[in-house]
Amino acid sequence: MKLPIYLDNHSTTPCDPRVLETMLPYFTEKFGNAASRNHSFGWEAEEAVEVARKQIAHLIHADAKELIFTSGATESDNLALQGVVEMYREKGNHIITGSTEHRAVIDTAKYLEKKGIKVTFLPVDKAGMVSPDDVRNAITDQTILISIMMANNEIGTINPVAAIGKVAKEKGVLFHCDATQGVGKIPVNVQEMGIDLMSFTAHKIYGPKGVGALYVRRKAPRVRLEAMMYGGGHERGMRSGTLPVPLIVGFGKACELCEQEMSTESVRMAKMRDRLQEGIMNRMDEVYLNGHPTERLPNNLNISFAYVEGEALLMGVKEIALSSGSACTSATLEPSYVLRALGVGSDLAHSSIRFGLGRFNTDEEVEYTIDRMIKAVTHLREMSPLYEMAKEGVDLKSVQWAAH
């Protein structure tokens, strides 16, 4: 077994060697601009892009013409929200989204709020799920867009997307879904799920960084967008800019591999994840699962180790790449807003660790991780005043702490 171990696959994934191999010729001999219509270099590049478009579309049950290439899911989210709002502003000035969405959606929504758009941030239940009834109740005659994620990047909770899509359809409101963590991991069908716009990206599914897509429905309804990027009129005028052909080729291949391997890979992933969860939770007290017990991405595990601070814990297992909801690990110095939205206390949010399994993890790595986590938590609990107090029977909630 090789160290360090990578268990941060929600953050990014390594490029699959098969993906990289497919991409390489498009950096050198097949370097043409897909928009060059007058020579073989351009035709070759255009053909490669169209093959990739089909591979990607096939994975999500869309038509190849319905994909707009972007630089990644952040850009796709921005384009979906800003593009729809600008295009449909005369129809209404209200959008609905969730409180556990990715920052790319939340911050874009807040930007739109500053521009005079009304935004409803729906709460989630204890498991992190958005209720389709809440979506329905939030819709007004001014609502032009619903944006709810498919699966959460921290806790892996999978939203009832098809039910939300149905509500959107009934009410005639456009439905955007940030499916960055869902695509490639769980079956996605934009038809059955009633999705009108969908963001996703290559680097979360063993493709290259720097390329993503926005699915934009062409029929029933035909969704229109105001572009954010102007220029050569690429991608049906919705996103100008020369297509990064090698990245798109890799994105296509990555989607093809996900489609071929998803049924076996998701089973293997869930088995490793369940083993990780049992291995840790059966051997330690006061360890809490964050997120939904079953409606969860097969590769996700998020747990809080009470009385231990997340960043300190990561430091204790530094040969394992993980992430934490602790304030100390975030740029904002605030504990995870996702966990807070679930009603997890700040103390347990500071103690949370996210494990993200991936295609290249092994059972041996999982066993190693279990042992290391237990050792590190035990080490830290021995020096935790909170653990000591809890063991003495002090109710930590009743203590008057001096917040600082």
Partner: protein, 138 residues
């Protein structure tokens, strides 16, 4: 973020982890911070003849918070109460090479020292008020 070697050393081999009897006359205890903020430090000193003869800590917090309190116990041992008052958070920042985002850990350690000293002095003061205690201490 990369940690300094000294922080890593204190994290891996924390000095003086543990607890003294909180209600003992010769012990001063300081508990600062809050679980919601992600750090709580408990620092204790044992005093004989106005000199700190032993110190212990327990900390819930990041590696820098653990290192700051571990270092504080090292520095406190052997110091008189008066000299202990002079330990500044900036000394801790300097010794551990803490980056700006971790300065609050050193502030918390200084607060813990002050709180432990204050607790001991309060106890000693109360003791002096009692006549029998006054005679033994004079």
């Amino acid at each position: 973020m990369a940690y300094s070697e000294k922080v890593i050393d204190h994290y891996n081999n924390p000095r003086n982890v543990g607890s003294f009897q909180k209600d003992a006359d010769d012990v001063g205890t300081g508990v600062v911070g809050a679980p919601e903020c992600g750090d709580v430090m408990k620092l204790q000193i044992k005093v004989e003849n106005d000199t700190i003869v032993d110190a212990k800590f327990k900390t819930f917090g990041c590696g820098s918070a653990i290192a700051s309190s571990s270092l504080a116990t090292e520095w406190l041992k052997g110091k008189t109460l008066e000299d202990a008052q002079k330990i500044k958070n900036t000394d801790i920042v300097h010794e551990l090479n803490l980056p700006p985002v971790k300065i609050h850990c050193s502030v918390l350690a200084e607060d813990a020292i002050k709180a432990a000293l204050g607790d001991y002095q309060k106890k000693a003061g109360e003791k002096k008020l009692k006549p029998e205690a006054a005679t033994t201490s004079s």
